[in-house]
Symmetry: C2
Subunit: 438 residues, 2 copies
């Protein structure tokens, strides 16, 4: 089930592995600039990084998907318009402020695209903007415009790592995944589900390829890949106002096999989604929940999401507590509220491969209980320690392994299945989201 | 909006107030017994209380509503059958173990009803069973049967307080609400949303009245009251497998005004629901969210529930952080995912009475920010302090006040509204649900 199973004994080894993944596909350059500014709403110094991803030649072959939140950020509103444009030449990203429901937000976003376009020799409509960070604040447009020349002068074709680092907020580490195939490559970076003090999570994903996949195919393929990866992940059930996944093809390498391209993109997207979960706020355990035997894939996915989002079960996993009662509760909660006609009398459940429910009835004993706890401990990313100041923070800034808490639920009523990635609910999550303000 | 606004400077004053609410309606007695036993699954000593609520004469006038969880507890399965019986004479409640998906659970529940019925001179079918506590464990049927005579010998007509105390698990304090009207009374008790180590929340509510309301009316009225109170509350979005709300009328006092009865029952249920939220696991702030201007009441309620269940917003409230971006996120999340045709451009939002969103755009400034924080602090039940052992626990076992964080969202697109009670997400919640096990 997992496409990778690395272990990283130290940050150094994780960084070396990231570097090994970071070569840019042909036809792209990335550059960044970091600067200090003073937000209008909270007049204290803050720092922002702008990241540019630039194509050597504008391309018609691009695709993007955006948040379904009904209060979308201004860059999402602009980005949806860009989908109708004939070509895209660059992506301009800022962190720290997400430009959501802010007065004049769309105008500011367009103004910054125009400023970047002028120096890059593009049209403003050929630039896709993205912003992530505090919701409610206004973008410091003048400060961003002033920093653009530095970002442009730093554009380089070697590595995507500067962009992977430039787009993060409180992520613990950058995230890069790649696939090499058919003489070209697919390279993706992701940001999230980090928090920026004091505001909400945003996921940004940019995928670059030199394989020539026409726009119409690229859009269909991206939609399917996203549906099976990022749409099958939940850290805390909250939907960002800025979520964006974009893919750009430079077309430098002919693509002889669209099916192979799609399969490789699926893996890149699924691995990035798991990276995002593993680096989620305060995450100590990643959960992988497979629901099978369902009447439809939609039902299977909804039940799996209910499990990974059930606060009581998430807390139990955080505590290495094999609280199977809370797992059963979550399944029953979804079915009872949404599809009460599904009979659960043939439900089987496994936890770390160990059968715990047989035909809807618990099959537990003290020996199994110990094995369940051992499985939970093996998937723990770090041990939580109470800090002196009361603010919990993860003691690592790299992922020590890629193991998950593995949960299987077979409803026994159909043949559809789905797998969802999630995470536990920890003191580190609460500290990150409650403890840094008055 | 709040029906009560007490403050309790100390536990003593809270207890005195509870005592003032506790007089039983005519025609009822309550009794309890507490004993030690050894669970089959985790062979360590544990304690259980059984609680009996007994009518002087079995009554045809009773109503009950149960969890919609599709893995209902055995007592819920039995309770649904009881609704068809001509009369009910008693309720038998145990805490500590919830008897859910346990081998032979229904048979055990019926066996205990039969044992109680024999001593009380009733039929087994005239007893409504309830169990709350650990999911997955089996009831200690022999130990419960052995304790029944003690509970029966303690039956007394004076106060409902022993029952309010007998049904709790990890609740910090018992919950009683009453209404006196038309020469009779309605008295309700509630358990939840406490946790029993190491398992999941259950809400149990029993309401007794001496007012003679015929069964058919009682059932319709209870359904409406529950829909506006307990169904408008969420501590953590997890639905217990054992939730039960039951009302019994002894019929001792003629009821001349059904509308007055329903109005009084509405208040008793709404106040108990708020009590349950205020005593929710680790709760430091109760939130009251009113959504108005909605196309339907269902939409208004769903948006309000999305707000009180949004983990990031709950964490912000816990930290006295007026993070209005997360509030906007929650509204947009629901609308985008479920009713994307609703336009949010006329949305107004208030926080503690202070306007923060006007026509879908933030209206914020540093002065308002201070006022929002002051509102949050005024609604805080206690200050969180990092404990030496890393396990957070509320420092109080009574509710110091009945204030809420008040949030109003006016969608401006219709005339329907709903109000939902919820709570924040704290270190105390995580500690209660993660920190007590290996």
């Amino acid at each position: 089930m997992p496409s990778t199973n690395h272990t990283f004994p130290s940050r150094t080894e994780h960084r070396a592995w990231l570097a090994s993944q970071a070569a840019l596909p042909a036809g792209f350059r990335v550059g960044t600039a970091r600067f200090e500014f003073t937000p209008f709403e909270v007049p204290k110094p803050a720092k922002m990084t702008i990241t540019l991803i630039v194509l050597d030649q504008p391309t018609p072959d691009f695709a993007a998907m955006f948040t379904k939140n009904a209060f979308p950020g201004a860059p999402v509103i602009v980005g949806r318009k860009r989908l109708e444009e004939p070509k895209l030449g660059a992506i301009l990203v800022n962190n720290k402020i997400s430009n959501v429901c802010a007065p004049g937000g769309v105008e500011t976003s367009e103004r910054l695209c125009a400023a970047a376009a002028k120096t890059l020799g593009l049209n403003a409509s050929e630039i896709l903007p993205s912003s992530t960070g505090v919701i409610g604040w206004r973008l410091p447009a003048d400060a961003i415009a002033a920093a653009l020349p530095q970002a442009i002068s730093s554009l380089a074709a070697g590595s995507i790592l500067p962009a992977a680092e430039g787009i993060v907020t409180t992520d613990l580490y950058p995230k890069i995944r790649r696939a090499d195939l058919l003489g070209g490559s697919i390279v993706g970076i992701a940001k999230g589900a980090g928090m920026i003090e004091p505001n909400m999570a945003t996921m940004l994903v940019y995928i670059l390829t030199d394989l020539a996949v026409p726009r119409a195919d690229l859009r269909k393929i991206l939609a399917r890949s996203v549906d099976r990866s990022f749409n099958c992940m939940s850290i805390d059930s909250d939907t960002s106002t800025s979520d964006t996944v974009a893919i750009l093809s430079s077309g430098k390498v002919p693509c002889s096999d669209l099916a192979a391209f799609e399969a490789a993109l699926n893996i890149v997207c699924a691995d990035l989604a798991e990276d995002v979960a593993r680096n989620g706020e305060g995450v100590r355990h990643v959960m992988r929940v497979k629901v099978s035997g369902a009447p439809t894939e939609q039902t299977a996915r909804a039940i799996a999401k209910t499990i990974v989002n059930a606060p009581l079960f998430k807390c139990a996993v955080a505590g290495n507590d094999a609280n199977v009662g809370r797992l059963v509760q979550a399944v029953g909660k979804y079915v009872g509220a949404n599809e009460p006609t599904i009979a659960l009398g043939r439900t089987q459940m496994k936890f770390g491969g160990i059968p715990i429910v047989k035909d809807g009835i618990f099959a537990l004993d003290p020996t199994k209980e110990k094995a369940l706890v051992a499985h939970l401990k093996s998937a723990e990313l770090y041990e939580s320690a109470p800090p002196k100041d009361g603010v919990f923070a993860p003691p690592i800034d790299f992922p020590p392994h890629e193991r998950c808490v593995e949960i299987e639920v077979d409803l026994g009523v159909g043949s559809a299945s789905a797998t969802v990635i999630g995470a536990d609910l920890t003191h580190e999550y609460v500290s990150e989201n409650a403890d840094y303000r008055s």
